[in-house]
C-alpha cells in the first residue's frame, strides 16, 4: 500500500532546487516554459507534472467553499478543466485573473481528474471591457460557449480556434465592430476550422456556382433552386453577401450591412450552428441584437 502511494505521489515531490525554479516566475522564460528546469525534472522523475500555457477562460463554476473549476481553452493543450483554489475569497491572489474572457498565462500541474492552477498572470483582461456593455457581454458569452462546444475532446490542441477566440474577444473589447457581427463572424469561422464550413458560393448539393437564393441548414449551406430541400429558407442577396464577407473577414463590407440584413444573417448563423452541434446554445437566446 505504502509503496503504491509513494509511486503515485513521487512525481509531485520535486527536488528543492527545481521547486525553486518552478515557483519563481522570473526564472520561467516567456516561451521556453522553464525549459532547463523542467528538462532536468524529466530525467529525474520520469514525467513532467508542471506545465505552463496561455489560455482564455471560457467558464467558471463554484467548487466547495472557496474554489472554482475553470474551463480553459489553452494555446497548446486544447480545452482543459482545472481547479483554481481559494479564488472566491476576497483576499485571493489571482481571483480576478481567472474570470471568464481573461487571456492569461498559467502555471498548472496535472491532477488525476482536474489540473490545478498554481500561478496566473494576466496577458489581457478582456472581461473588464466586455462586461461594461451588455451587448458586448452577451455576444462575448456566446463566443465562449461556442468555443467550448466546438472542442468536443479535452486536451486536443486547437491553435487556430484559440487564436480565433482571442481575436474575437479583442474585437469586442476594442469596440471595433458591432458585437453581434463579431459573434456571427466568429461562429462562421470557428465552424469552418472545425470542419463545418457552410457552402456559400455554390450549391451544397450539386456544386453549381451561385449566387443562389436558398439556404438549408440540413444541406450544409446555400442550395440551388433545383436541389432545394423542404426546410430551405429564401435569403436576400444582401444577406448572402454579408455571410461571405463575415466568413472572409471583409469588414468594410460587413460593417456597411443594414441592421435588417444583419438580423437575417444572425438568424441563419444561429440556426446553422445549433443544427451542426445538435443542441441549442443557452447563451444565444440572450444575445442582444442591435
Amino acid at each position: 500500500m505504502r509503496r503504491r502511494l509513494r509511486r503515485r505521489f513521487e512525481p509531485y515531490i520535486l527536488p528543492r532546487q527545481n521547486r525553486a525554479i518552478c515557483e519563481d516566475p522570473a526564472r520561467l522564460g516567456k516561451d521556453g516554459a522553464a525549459a532547463t528546469g523542467l528538462m532536468s525534472l524529466r530525467g529525474e522523475n520520469g514525467r513532467v507534472p508542471l506545465y505552463r500555457d496561455e489560455a482564455v477562460v471560457l467558464r467558471t463554476q463554484k467548487l466547495g467553499e472557496a474554489d472554482r473549476i475553470v474551463t480553459l481553452l489553452t494555446r497548446r493543450h486544447g480545452r482543459v478543466r482545472a481547479v483554481a483554489k481559494g479564488v472566491r475569497r476576497t483576499a485571493s491572489r489571482f481571483g480576478a485573473r481567472v474570470e471568464p474572457f481573461s487571456h492569461v498565462d498559467l502555471l498548472m500541474y496535472e491532477g488525476r481528474e482536474l489540473d490545478v492552477v498554481t500561478q496566473a498572470e494576466t496577458i489581457e483582461p478582456y472581461g473588464e471591457r466586455i462586461a461594461s456593455d451588455y451587448g458586448r457581454y452577451t455576444a462575448g458569452t456566446a463566443v465562449l460557449e461556442t468555443a467550448e462546444r466546438l472542442t468536443a475532446e479535452e486536451r486536443e490542441p486547437s491553435l487556430r480556434l484559440f487564436l480565433l477566440v482571442v481575436g474575437a474577444l479583442r474585437a469586442l473589447a476594442e469596440e471595433t465592430h458591432t458585437p453581434s457581427l463579431v459573434l456571427d463572424a466568429f461562429i462562421l469561422r470557428a465552424m469552418s476550422i472545425s470542419g463545418y464550413e457552410p457552402a456559400l458560393d455554390s450549391c451544397s448539393r450539386c456544386g453549381a456556382v451561385g449566387p443562389h437564393r436558398f439556404f438549408a441548414v440540413a444541406a450544409g449551406g446555400m442550395v440551388c433552386a433545383e436541389h432545394r430541400p423542404g426546410g430551405a429558407v429564401t435569403v436576400s442577396p444582401a444577406a448572402t453577401a454579408l455571410l461571405v464577407a463575415l466568413l472572409d473577414g471583409d469588414w468594410t463590407v460587413a460593417d456597411a450591412g443594414e441592421p435588417r440584413t444583419q438580423r437575417e444573417v444572425s438568424g441563419l448563423v444561429a440556426a446553422y450552428l445549433q443544427w451542426q452541434l445538435e443542441r441549442g446554445l443557452r447563451s444565444l437566446r440572450l444575445v442582444e441584437r442591435g
Binding site: 483576499a91 491572489r93 480576478a96 472581461g127 473588464e128 462586461a131 451588455y134 457581454y137
Partner: protein, 199 residues
C-alpha cells in the same frame, strides 16, 4: 451498505452540499448516538424552515412574515435601495452597519452561459419599486465578478432614464492584504477610485 433507516439517512445527508459519503456516515452515526431531545430539536428546525420561511413580498429576502424585518422597519431610509444577488449578501452588508436603506434581492446574476437572463431575476419587481418617486438612489452591490459587473451595467442602463442616482460599490484592495499580491484588475480599480486624504 447498512440496512434500511440508517442507509436512508446516510443517502439523504450525502445530498447536502459539501457532504461526501464518509461525512454523511459520520453524521448519521452521531445522530444515532445522540440524545433523542437533540435530534427532535433538529427535526423541528428542519420542518419549520420549510413551513414558515418564505420570501419578502417587497425585497425578496427570506422572512417568516409577509414582509421582512428590514422592509417593515420604519427607521430605515425609504429613499435608498441596495441591490444584491442573494439573501446572504444582505446579512454581509448588515454586518457593516454602514447602510440604513432598504434592499432588493435579485436571486442571482445574469449569466447567459447558464441560461440565466434578465427575465429570470427579480428585475421587473425592482422596476416597479423604482417607479415610486420616493427613491433617490440605487446602490448596485452585485458580486465584483464578471456576472455581477454585467448585471450592474444592465441595471444601470435600464434605470438611466428614470432620474435616479445609480452608484456601484467600490472595488479595491482588501484591508489587511499586501499590495504586491493584488491582481492588476483590482489594483487598477483601486487607482481609479482613489480618494483625497483630507487630514
Amino acid at each position: 451498505m447498512y440496512e434500511g433507516a440508517v442507509q436512508d439517512l446516510i443517502d439523504e445527508l450525502g445530498r447536502l452540499p459539501g457532504v461526501g459519503p464518509k461525512s454523511a456516515q459520520r453524521i448519521a452515526f452521531h445522530l444515532l448516538a445522540a440524545d433523542p431531545v437533540d435530534v427532535r430539536r433538529l427535526v423541528t428546525a428542519l420542518t419549520e424552515v420549510k413551513e414558515r420561511v418564505r420570501f419578502c413580498s417587497v425585497c425578496g429576502n427570506v422572512t417568516e412574515e409577509e414582509q421582512c424585518k428590514i422592509c417593515r422597519d420604519p427607521r430605515r431610509d425609504v429613499a435608498v435601495i441596495c441591490v444584491v444577488e442573494e439573501p446572504k449578501d444582505v446579512v454581509a452588508i448588515e454586518k457593516t452597519r454602514e447602510f440604513h436603506g432598504r434592499y432588493h434581492v435579485l436571486g442571482g446574476a445574469i449569466s447567459p452561459i447558464e441560461g440565466i437572463g434578465p427575465d429570470d431575476l427579480r428585475i421587473r419587481e425592482l422596476m416597479s419599486r423604482l417607479a415610486d418617486d420616493t427613491i433617490t438612489e440605487l446602490i448596485l452591490a452585485t458580486d465584483p465578478n464578471l456576472e455581477g459587473e454585467a448585471t450592474a451595467t444592465y441595471l444601470a442602463r435600464l434605470v438611466k432614464p428614470m432620474n435616479i442616482r445609480v452608484t456601484r460599490l467600490a472595488s479595491g484592495l482588501p484591508v489587511g492584504g499586501d499590495l504586491e499580491y493584488a491582481d492588476e484588475v483590482t489594483l487598477g480599480r483601486a487607482f481609479e477610485g482613489r480618494r483625497l486624504l483630507d487630514v
